[in-house]
Symmetry: C2
Subunit: 354 residues, 2 copies
């Protein structure tokens, strides 16, 4: 019988539920409620046999160049992968190989801890303050690397660029990754610091603001030196990660800036409106700069509310971790979806308060 | 300045060239010269916004079930990934974590060594015999796992199922991976042994026989116990590796068995015809059961021939490694493509022999 002696033992990340039915209001995985640019779907009409038959370009040159042009950097500064999860996993594998602990916030993207465990990376979870804020000074110490999302998840809080820069500047010898999955919804990007700091990696995803979670595209921008090393590791893992259709639709998305700004703007407007509504209903929440709101009700337990919503086919995210168990992470959907949420909450809370 | 002290140092795999121009005869990466089933392209016409906007099913249930049905196994026996490279990399990460060396042939898929180096896996390259054959007895020793392709690459030689079984049976406690990237072109699959050996993993790819290299789909079949552990590691790396379009086109490919058999049959016929032609031109080669021929000419140096072909826009693969530097690995293309190759060789060899 096979022995598990040589097996890697892990505790995997648990993603939000992807219900198979379309009759639910899905506010649990921070997806975009709007479709991607029509230009993206148009691409499918022009896909020929060779997009299937032949291997895709292993260098992903066209998408890398399009992203470089979009961000006004060089192609040597851009690396792409199968969602930002793939990009960040590759960064962990590439840059976090020292004995000193990698630093990240204790309340943050739960996958950081999972990657560290998987890859046997030593780490230190730095507590947020009592207002769920990142304290830059806490990162000014010896480390094997630093990673944090900005805006942070699941709090939605953004850190000012001066504070982000102070963290990058304080660890010039180790790699600092700023995970900007949600930056298009608020906050100032660290991309402007790429030329100034050769230890900086900024990661981005197509899954939120670009409405392309299903296509699996992520990327990062960094110094040519870091990107080169990252590519070496990528070519030691899988030469061809991006399908030809992902490359082509990824490029198309960048070519419709008006649509992009318009849909992101709509989500931000809905978010602010939802904040006002939630406030009226007795919720307190952090001042989100992302496409979700992290909120708790003054009277009702987080898990109870999560279950009540789910029973009514409204999916939100609830985390069991002690510090945040009172909260729900609610993705911003369409105006209609948020109205359904608020209407349900009014009924539910009214009933409870009778 | 950033220090490379914490960087992972690797020597990446170098994939075959993917020329951007369409005016070359591309016989260098073992792609299928025929398009995928028309049913696969039809899928693109029915792709809607939600294939983009929403995350794909992290369990990839529909494709896993379709593959299970296709191979007459349970869904618990199937794992999918971004090409078989992703699947095998995950297997290395999951199953090869002991101190004892993992065994694989010295002349084989060059990526095995790269993955082992990347993941710091101890390994032992077992020499093929003088006829480039795998000797099963050489694998009957203590090991941390075993992996070999069947048919082997780049030799194209297939090992009989009884010999494959002898290797699996000799190491019941460690995982044995049979990499069947080319099995549809010849040889007997080890899939029939899945129920008998709980230490067996059989990997497959859509990139060769299914003409879908550009879509990045690979999978493996193994005992429910092994697949479960593999999924844990996958969910510690990237929750969503398969795009929704990959899932849907992957299923479509399985539904056109006639087309599949017909195109594979054509490639096999062309291979046998090409063997006869090469023989007439003074080539010797191994008796390939795959979609390529590993051949050397009695007079002309491998590298010289590689360069002459390339200059004439015929791309084949040449490896610099000492034992095989006289050989070219020639992918089987269409009848027309192989005729162009043979015509060129006739001219070239005629010229040299004047």
């Amino acid at each position: 019988m096979v022995s598990d002696e040589n097996f890697r033992k892990v505790k995997p990340y648990v993603p939000g539920e992807q219900p198979k039915n379309d009759d639910v209001i899905k506010l649990n995985t921070n997806e975009n409620p709007y479709p991607p640019s029509p230009k993206v779907l148009e691409v499918l009409g022009n896909i020929g046999n060779s997009s299937f038959r032949k291997y895709p370009d292993p260098e992903v040159s066209d998408l890398v160049q399009a992203l470089a042009d979009y961000h006004n950097v060089k192609r040597e500064n851009v690396f792409v992968g199968v969602g930002s999860d793939d990009v960040i996993a590759m960064c962990f594998m590439t840059f976090f190989n020292g004995g000193k602990p990698v630093l990240f916030p204790d309340i943050s993207y739960a996958f950081y801890k999972v990657w560290a465990d998987l890859l046997k990376v030593n780490y230190d979870e730095i507590p947020l303050d009592n207002d769920f804020k990142i304290i830059p000074d806490d990162y000014f110490k010896e480390n094997g690397g630093i990673i944090f999302p900005n805006p942070n998840a699941p709090t939605g809080l953004v850190l000012g660029l001066d504070k982000v820069e102070s963290i990058i500047a304080s660890s010039p010898k180790t790699v600092v990754i700023v995970d900007e999955a949600y930056i298009d919804f608020g906050g100032e990007s660290a991309l402007s610091l790429i030329d100034k700091y050769d230890n900086l990696i900024v990661t981005r995803t197509y899954s939120k603001s670009r409405a392309m979670a299903g296509m699996r595209i992520g990327y990062c921008v960094g110094s040519a030196e870091l990107i080169k090393v990252l590519n070496s590791v990528k070519f030691s893992y899988n030469s061809y990660t991006m399908s030809d259709i992902a490359i082509k639709t990824g490029i198309a998305s960048l070519k419709d800036e008006d649509y992009f700004k318009q849909t992101v703007g709509r989500i931000v407007d809905t978010r602010e409106k939802t904040k006002r509504e939630l406030n009226r209903l007795g919720f307190t929440f952090l001042d989100s700069s992302s496409n979700f709101i992290f909120a708790k009700h003054k009277d009702i337990d987080g898990e109870q509310l999560f279950n009540a919503l789910k029973k009514n086919k409204i999916f939100v995210r609830h985390f069991n971790s002690e510090k945040i168990k009172d909260y729900l992470r609610i993705t911003i959907g369409t105006e209609d979806e948020m109205k359904s949420l608020i209407d349900f909450l009014k009924r539910y809370l009214g009933y409870k308060e009778v």
